[in-house]
């Protein structure tokens, strides 16, 4: 189908965009790369009265390393993240995850800020932000707000962003030398929506995991930072300990049923991902030998 009629304004600055958003509230929608917004509009799932195109705001584009903080502008496209040596060096989890985000033609347009503001629970990037302990930077007319990624995502397509605000950037801590990451998703076709996925960031301490953040996606109404991983931190992980953590994970998750998979299958796949992740991070294939769940 085609999008229904709307008015169009090309923002000339962040201030200009904010003025338009304040004036039109939730009747307006921000257009960044359009790779989630345009499908929704073409399918008539949403029919905004005004589109505020922020695509020309160069100040929202780019990747910069400042001390131990990696700053990524909201308009930075997926292809820019994928090809960035700074991202590969300081947030390699993102480089790996981006390859799973849709297809080349989509990655040439889709933006980080757009993906985060859209907050599809099956998306890779929101989960990566949670795993990487990102700060989401939001600007409104009253000034700037900084929100931890964990608190930013509040439900299916729901975030802490109000209709009068703009997501302008994210900040990631530069990964430490002893850190390691894991990313995997189950999808019917490479680039399709995940049935269940996991983005994880860890700090290695000898043969143990000194710190571990596992953010599961497509298994809840938002990226889920698993509490069950506490059972795997600073202990020598045995198959029994892993099984215990997997059971706790299963109880913690509340996945949805849809045409792709029932909740029970998603819960099962999340446990499989947990085992694969622990096994891969520690380099211990026996932990992923099967029979866990």
């Amino acid at each position: 189908m085609k999008a229904s009629a709307f008015s169009y304004a090309r923002a000339t600055s962040v201030g200009d965009a904010l003025e338009l958003l304040v004036a039109h509230g939730d009747k307006a929608k921000v257009l960044s790369g359009g790779q989630s917004l345009m499908p929704a509009m073409n399918l008539r799932l949403i029919s905004p009265e005004l589109i505020v195109d922020i695509g020309e705001l160069a100040e929202l584009r780019g990747i910069a390393v400042r001390g131990d903080v990696l700053n990524i502008g909201a308009l930075t496209r997926h292809v820019d993240l994928l090809n960035s040596p700074d991202i590969a060096a300081h947030a390699p989890l993102l480089t790996e995850a981006i390859a799973h985000v849709a297809h080349p033609a989509i990655r040439n347009r889709g933006t980080l800020g757009g993906s985060l503001a859209h907050a599809d629970p099956a998306s890779e990037l929101p989960a990566c932000m949670v795993a990487l302990n990102a700060i989401i930077i939001i600007r409104g007319q009253a000034g700037e707000r900084r929100i931890a990624a964990e608190d930013f995502f509040t439900g299916i397509y729901e975030t802490a962003l109000s209709a009068q605000e703009l997501l302008v950037a994210v900040e990631l801590p530069v990964t430490k030398k002893e850190s390691a990451h894991f990313f995997f998703e189950f999808a019917r076709r490479h680039g399709d929506y995940a049935i269940a996925g996991l983005a994880a960031q860890a700090i290695m301490a000898g043969g143990r995991l000194g710190g571990l953040r596992m953010a599961f996606f497509a298994v809840g109404d938002r990226p889920v930072l698993a509490r069950a991983v506490n059972k795997l931190v600073n202990v020598t992980i045995t198959p029994a300990a892993l099984a215990d953590a997997a059971t706790a994970l299963g109880e913690e998750l509340d996945p949805q049923d849809d045409q792709q998979a029932p909740a029970s299958m998603r819960r099962h796949l999340a446990k499989v991902l947990m085992a694969r992740c622990a096994s891969a991070l520690l380099g211990r294939p026996e932990l992923n030998a099967g029979g866990l769940v």
Binding site: M1, S7, Y8, A9, N42, I106, R189, H190
Partner: protein, 161 residues
């Protein structure tokens, strides 16, 4: 503001000035305003890849881009790539290998394949599959398409030696 918006862009090397409604997507602009019907419209939500075109040298879904967003941009369609001879060898390989049947996906498939060959001179079959993973073909079962792209890559490599 739902009024017509003025845009100027470059399409296949020619300057185009037009007045368009904001809701008009690039695919429909190319097909209905410029009669460039080689760009096909399939799913209209970014899944099938039939509407793939180049904007400023990079492939995009023209159903997911508004015509008003192309103001000042350079757009190349399958007609442009075809007429310039840029993909003549790739098209010949598609023909030779029966890599198209009904032809609906072919323009988008050729766009995506040429994009890959520009970035990787010698892609293996896995990489070819991955790069074309956003383009649906409902006739060929894909193998012939992968063959055609692989053959073209090899021939281009030999030509450069």
């Amino acid at each position: 503001m739902t009024a017509l918006t003025q845009i100027s862009l470059d399409v296949n090397g020619e300057r185009v000035d037009a007045h368009v409604l904001p809701r008009l997507n690039l695919a429909d602009f190319l097909r209905e305003h410029l009669q460039l019907t080689g760009t096909h419209v399939g799913c209209e939500h970014g899944v099938c890849g039939a509407c793939t075109v180049r904007v400023n040298g990079e492939i995009v879904r023209s159903c997911l881009m508004l015509a008003v967003q192309t103001h000042g941009a350079s757009v190349q369609t399958i007609e442009g790539l075809s007429d310039s001879g840029e993909i003549a060898d790739l098209q010949a390989a598609f023909r030779d290998r029966n890599a198209l049947q009904c032809g609906f996906c072919a323009p988008g498939m050729l766009m995506a394949a040429q994009d890959l060959l520009k970035q990787h001179a010698e892609p293996d079959r896995k990489l070819i599959r991955e790069h074309l993973s956003g383009n649906y073909c409902r006739c060929t079962g894909y193998h012939a398409i992968i063959d055609a792209v692989e053959t073209t890559a090899r021939r281009r490599m030999r030509r450069e030696l």
